[in-house]
């Protein structure tokens, strides 16, 4: 019996071996024919609750690559899309597949910070340039990864200016914050609180609904006796909160400020009047007036019939930066360390978000805008009302001093005015 099995297996094994050999010859032949393509791996989320943003990332990347006819530095470009499903474990596997099976030259993505943290050590170990929107502060601060670069914004990069705007421009004095109880929400709130309090404001209550909370009414009931509310939500929680805020009659009574993903375009297109008047800070909205953005927005509308927001523009910008870097190394993507250096020295004069460069930690330096939700041509849009120019992740703090302090968290900086 055993012998029989053994006999059976040998021919099968030979067959398998042959087919592997043949297919690898075919692959080699294919390589020799064309100019070797540049392979870009997009790690995104196409299923589950994060899918809205993930699909927009793919659209933004596609729009950019179309604009250059899928050719960079004379080489054809291949986009390989991997769906992580929003799971760190899958992200790790997919990253390995992209690198080891598909042989990608760079990774764009992943979407969520917890996914980026899951592949963090792997990308450093194999040395694959990774351009991600993952906002976790320490990925470009206390524990920077030499192969990681961020062209969107760190968590607090856009919330520092909001703290300034709230305290100085609007002269709000008493604020309550409400945020998803995850690192992203905590870091945004910490940045807002720090600058707001340094300019005379007081955060008198901090509310932390769990990420998957079904309903916000218990939290909204606690919003009393304040001038302003600051919210920091990810995914669709901003939509749910803003709706319930209006449902309880607070819209127009207490101004509502938000972090970058609390009221971005992906949420606004599913909202109505309840979002009017929400003020948020971010590095981008589809309403930015310069030609580079008007052009991008019109192509997104034409092809996908959507206004691009946070996710779409991030992938688009990442592709722009990657393009500039590959041009700088003359199209040779073999030496990943050199490509990484080129990526970090990229300067974009004219991108949809404005001028862009990178600091020594691989994080973007660029404009942060304050937006207000208004109605325009029957759509809700984020109209820019103030610009903070060339904002770095350290706001106007000394970077060494900043890095010597603990990373932003739920309890740092300490909130000394709670309950007052």
């Amino acid at each position: 019996m055993l012998l029989f099995l053994f006999k059976m297996k040998i021919p099968l094994f030979c067959l398998a071996l042959c087919s592997v050999l043949v297919s690898s010859f075919l692959v080699v032949a294919a390589y020799a024919q064309d100019a070797d393509p540049i392979r870009i791996g997009l790690m995104t989320v196409k299923t589950g609750p994060l899918a809205t943003g993930g699909i927009q990332m793919e659209q933004g990347l596609d729009i950019y690559l179309r604009s250059v006819s899928y050719t960079i530095a004379g080489r054809p470009v291949e986009m390989i899309v991997a769906d992580t499903g929003g799971s760190p474990a899958v992200a790790r596997t997919k990253a390995q597949e992209l690198v080891e099976r598909d042989g990608v030259d760079a990774i764009i993505g992943p979407l969520a910070a917890f996914e980026a943290l899951a592949i963090n050590s792997y990308i450093a170990q194999v040395g694959i340039p990774t351009l991600s929107i993952a906002a976790a502060e320490d990925m470009t601060q206390r524990t920077p990864n030499p192969y990681f670069i961020r062209v969107s914004s760190s968590s607090a990069q856009a919330s520092h200016p909001m703290g300034h705007y709230a305290a100085v421009d609007r002269e709000f004095r008493r604020a309550v914050t409400i945020a998803d109880d995850i690192a992203y929400g905590q870091e945004m709130v910490a940045g807002f609180q720090r600058v707001f309090e340094e300019n005379g404001g007081r955060v008198v209550a901090k509310l932390w609904p769990p990420l998957n909370v079904a309903e916000y009414s218990a939290y909204i009931a606690q919003i009393q006796n304040v001038d302003v509310v600051y919210m920091a939500f990810a995914g669709i929680n901003g939509l749910r909160f803003i709706r319930q805020y209006a449902e309880f009659g607070l819209q127009g009574e207490i101004p509502l400020l938000g972090g970058m993903t609390s009221a971005d375009e992906s949420i606004l297109r599913n909202m109505g009047d309840e979002a009017l008047g929400v003020i948020s800070s971010s590095f981008y909205s589809s309403e930015l007036p310069w030609p580079a953005n008007v052009d991008f927005v019109s192509r997104m509308r034409e092809v996908y019939d959507v206004n691009p927001g946070y996710y779409a523009v991030s992938a688009y910008l990442e592709a722009m930066v990657l393009h500039a870097a590959i041009d700088a190394v003359g199209g040779d993507t073999e030496d990943k360390a050199e490509l990484m250096n080129a990526l970090r020295s990229v300067e974009l004069e004219d991108s949809p978000r404005g001028y862009v460069r990178f600091d020594e930690h691989g994080n973007v330096v660029g404009n942060i805008y304050i937006f207000e939700v208004q109605q325009k041509d029957g759509r809700l849009v984020n109209t820019p009302i103030k610009t903070y120019e060339n904002v770095s992740q350290f706001w106007n703090y000394n970077s060494e001093e900043f890095l010597s302090q603990p990373v932003y968290s739920r309890n740092y900086p300490p909130a000394i005015y709670l309950g007052q």
């Binding site: 009414s217 009393q224 749910r240």
Partner: protein
């Protein structure tokens, strides 16, 4: 003081919403002895049907009814074609409902995309009521009234009709019910369809409060589970009381123990399982 009043009203409206979710779950659990893990998905599917009906400019209440009917049909089909084949194999049935939950969620994502979709409450129920300076959304108050009407209707069905008597007999002792000539297997289909219909109705009614989005199913299912374990499987008064208890625990817990939001929700369930596994109103241990 106003905080307490607001929280109390919030707790009551949340209880109403939770009853819409858990009534069907409890009925199915009681009769068929399985937690229907697709219940959250059916709830979400009902809400998405509501979205589609409302986009076709159907009246809100008609959309609620249509959605309930559609889910009743789907529930009936699931029971006849899938669960019936596994009669008596409770573990297999539970796994089937789990698989269905994933399938339904993915189909919803395919059809309705990943975008969150808010439903609008009917015109007459938008806006707020003010009592003594406390603002309260009118629609939420309406949900409590609907939950009460539904609870009374279901109570009447179970306690005062022949069908209800058969269901109660089968919940208490399926073998004996069968011996007396009740077609328990047909009751299974009816109850599963009814439970699915209740989920569908609850889904649409909760739309204006929760919005509809991928992941709604996974958020609602544990709540249904907690309520039914607290109240006792198959007991309508149990589901009713459990819903309001959880409504209060949820709202007050989040204010007074904000760091322990999930602990305060699940601890009562754990205690109940240890101390009184049959739940408040359950007749025999699970």
């Amino acid at each position: 003081m106003t905080l307490y009043i607001i929280l109390t009203i919030n707790s009551i409206t949340m209880g109403g919403l939770l009853f819409l979710l858990s009534a069907g779950f409890s009925l199915i659990f009681g009769l068929m002895r399985i937690p229907n893990l697709a219940h959250g998905a059916l709830f979400m599917l009902g809400a998405y049907f509501g979205v589609t009906f409302l986009r076709m400019e159907v009246n809100f209440w008609i959309a609620v009814i249509f959605s309930g009917v559609a889910l009743a049909i789907i529930g009936g089909v699931i029971e006849r074609l899938l669960l019936r084949r596994l009669a008596g194999q409770e573990l297999a049935q539970v796994l089937v409902t789990l698989g269905l939950a994933f399938i339904i969620a993915d189909v919803c994502l395919l059809i309705w995309t990943g975008d969150p979709i808010p439903l609008n409450a009917p015109e007459s129920l938008r806006g707020v009521e003010r009592f003594f300076g406390i603002v309260f959304p009118r629609y939420r108050l309406a949900v409590v009234v609907i939950a009460l009407i539904l609870a009374i209707g279901l109570w009447f069905l179970l306690e005062r009709t022949r069908l209800g008597a058969m269901i109660r007999a089968s919940v208490d002792d399926p073998e004996m019910a069968r011996v007396t000539g009740i077609r328990v297997s047909r009751l299974f289909t009816i109850v599963f369809a009814l439970g699915a219909a209740l989920a569908g109705v609850g889904g649409v009614l909760s739309g204006p409060i929760l919005s509809v989005y991928p992941g709604l199913d996974a958020e609602m299912l544990p709540l249904a589970l907690i309520i039914v374990i607290l109240g006792g499987a198959g007991s309508l008064p149990g589901a009713f009381l459990g819903s309001f208890v959880i409504g209060f625990i949820y709202n007050f817990g989040q204010v007074f123990f904000p760091d322990l939001a999930y602990v305060v929700l699940f601890l009562p369930m754990l205690l109940m399982l240890v101390l009184r596994p049959q739940g408040l109103f359950g007749k025999d241990p699970l």
